[in-house]
């Protein structure tokens, strides 16, 4: 599984400035990767290009072994006519049902299952939304600020669990939290403003896994590299 974008040029219709100018990126394979960068540089635009929602750009995105790409963002809502559990049961494919209870427990939303979505806190809403995507069949899941409003400890628990449960799948985590992407992500794609060349720098993350011993020195180096690249 590999995803590679070459010589990508893109400008929104009627916009004066280009979003991407000769962009190159490569996601080497399965794992938990990150797309990092300041607001407005085109992270969501690139994510939508990967899903095929944005077409009509110059250049090429080659997807080897990436059959199904899903994109989720933090403002999504579940429909209000049923509670969270009923919704999960409705949308979970039979293959994903086994993972459902495990994810619910790790994500800490057992108590919210009988409630409707609008009754949940923002953090609970984002966790419930992410669970339903994890239950689907996908090769690449793009998580655009999907864990916003979730406390740090729970976020860490969730990311480690996702990495342990789906080692053969690819994740692209869009976040503004440098410490988080440095610690948990394997490859960090740092997207920069259009004036900088190259527009995207690739940094090796610390890629911390559940139960692995920590190496503060290596983590610090990864963080510094990301900050420098940005």
């Amino acid at each position: 599984m590999q995803l590679e974008g070459r010589r990508i040029f893109f400008r929104y219709p009627n916009a004066s400035a280009e979003v991407f100018s000769d962009l190159y990126f490569r996601i080497p394979g399965p794992g938990f990767h990150a797309l990092f960068g300041p607001s407005g540089v085109g992270k969501t635009t690139l994510a939508k290009m990967l899903t095929g929602a944005i077409k009509g750009f110059d250049g090429e995105i080659a997807a080897n072994g990436v059959r199904r790409v899903l994109y989720t963002y933090n403002l999504e809502r579940l429909p209000g006519w049923s509670n969270v559990r009923a919704h999960f049961e409705e949308i979970a494919p039979s293959a994903g049902r086994r993972s459902m209870d495990e994810l619910i427990e790790t994500f800490g939303i057992e108590a919210s299952l009988t409630s409707r979505f609008h009754r949940l806190s923002l953090g609970q809403q984002n966790r419930a939304n992410l669970i339903r995507y994890l239950l689907q069949d996908f090769d690449l899941l793009i998580m655009d600020e999907s864990l916003a409003n979730v406390d740090e400890l729970t976020r860490e628990k969730i990311i480690l669990k996702v990495k342990a449960m789906f080692p053969e799948r690819c994740f692209l985590y869009i976040s503004h939290n440098v410490a988080e992407v440095a610690k948990f992500c394997s490859q960090v794609l740092v997207l920069r403003s259009q004036s900088r060349t190259p527009q995207l720098a690739s940094v090796q993350g610390y890629d911390h896994k559940e139960g692995a011993a920590s190496d503060p020195g290596r983590l610090e180096r990864a963080m510094l590299e990301i900050v420098h690249a940005a």
Binding site: L70, Y73, L75, L78, I91, S115, R116, N129
Partner: protein, 249 residues
């Protein structure tokens, strides 16, 4: 809710009646032009039963016409949401057709369908159909992206699900429009009856007008107001119950 609607109507009705009586006594108009309160009371006692049946007849036609227009507006709006072109065409057509005063179109309907139930029903439906259609097209054409995104990206979206999501998210707006258009259904039916029908309270008002009997007209207006208020209260109650049920756990 019921008492609020009814007493609001009483305030408006008796203010209007007071204004008429002030005109009568201020300008020394004869009982032939504006009857005295005693005469209005006598007319009310004599004709209330007969007019009540006529109002119920009108109300039944208005409710049928209203239901018909809700069904039609829902169906057309669902079709209209399929593509931007169809939606835009239906919206423009609706704007153009509703620009014609119903009184101008009504004679054609009476010539083609006669002065029976069909004409009254059609005119009642037409007068409340276009405002309903414009609102329904707006609701059903507007994507609820933050809910629909999941179903679209996982290939689960069907037209039924899309309509369900959009209707559910806009239930309050839809209820308000339906309640608002109920008044228009009643008005449409009365107008149809007034122009050419042979039944209903509009027809009774036409007869009273030929007899220059303002007392009968005032009694008819009172009963129309009470009937319409009761219908609106029923619709509001149904709408509130539906919303409460959908939002409860």
């Amino acid at each position: 809710m019921l008492h609020r609607r009814v007493y609001q109507f009483f305030i408006i009705y008796f203010l209007g009646l007071g204004l008429l009586l002030a005109l009568k006594y201020g300008l020394s108009l004869s009982d032939y032009v504006i009857p005295s309160p005693a005469e209005i009371w006598r007319t009310g006692r004599s004709y209330a039963g007969h007019y009540l049946l006529a109002v119920l007849n009108t109300l039944a036609v208005a409710i049928l016409g209203h239901i018909l227009s809700i069904c039609l507006a829902t169906a057309v709006a669902i079709i209209g949401r399929l593509t931007a072109w169809i939606g835009s065409f239906i919206r423009t057509a609706a704007f153009n057709i509703q620009a014609y005063p119903i009184v101008a179109v009504a004679p054609i309907i009476f010539i083609l369908l006669g002065d029976g139930l069909a004409s009254r029903l059609l005119i009642a439906a037409m007068i409340c159909y276009f405002p309903l259609l414009l609102s329904f097209i707006g609701v059903f054409s507007e994507p609820v992206r933050e809910i629909e995104h999941f179903y679209e990206s996982t290939g689960r979206m069907t037209w039924r699900l899309q309509v369900k999501i959009r209707a559910f998210e806009n239930i309050q707006k839809l209820t308000t429009v339906i309640v608002g258009s109920a008044t228009m259904a009643m008005v449409g039916t009365i107008v149809a009856e007034f122009i050419a029908a042979t039944a209903g309270i509009g027809y009774s008002i036409r007869i009273a007008l030929y007899q220059s009997d303002l007392g009968k007209i005032l009694v008819a207006l009172f009963l129309i107001g009470v009937g319409t208020s009761l219908y609106l209260v029923s619709l509001e109650w149904i709408g509130n119950a539906l919303q409460a049920r959908l939002k409860s756990i």
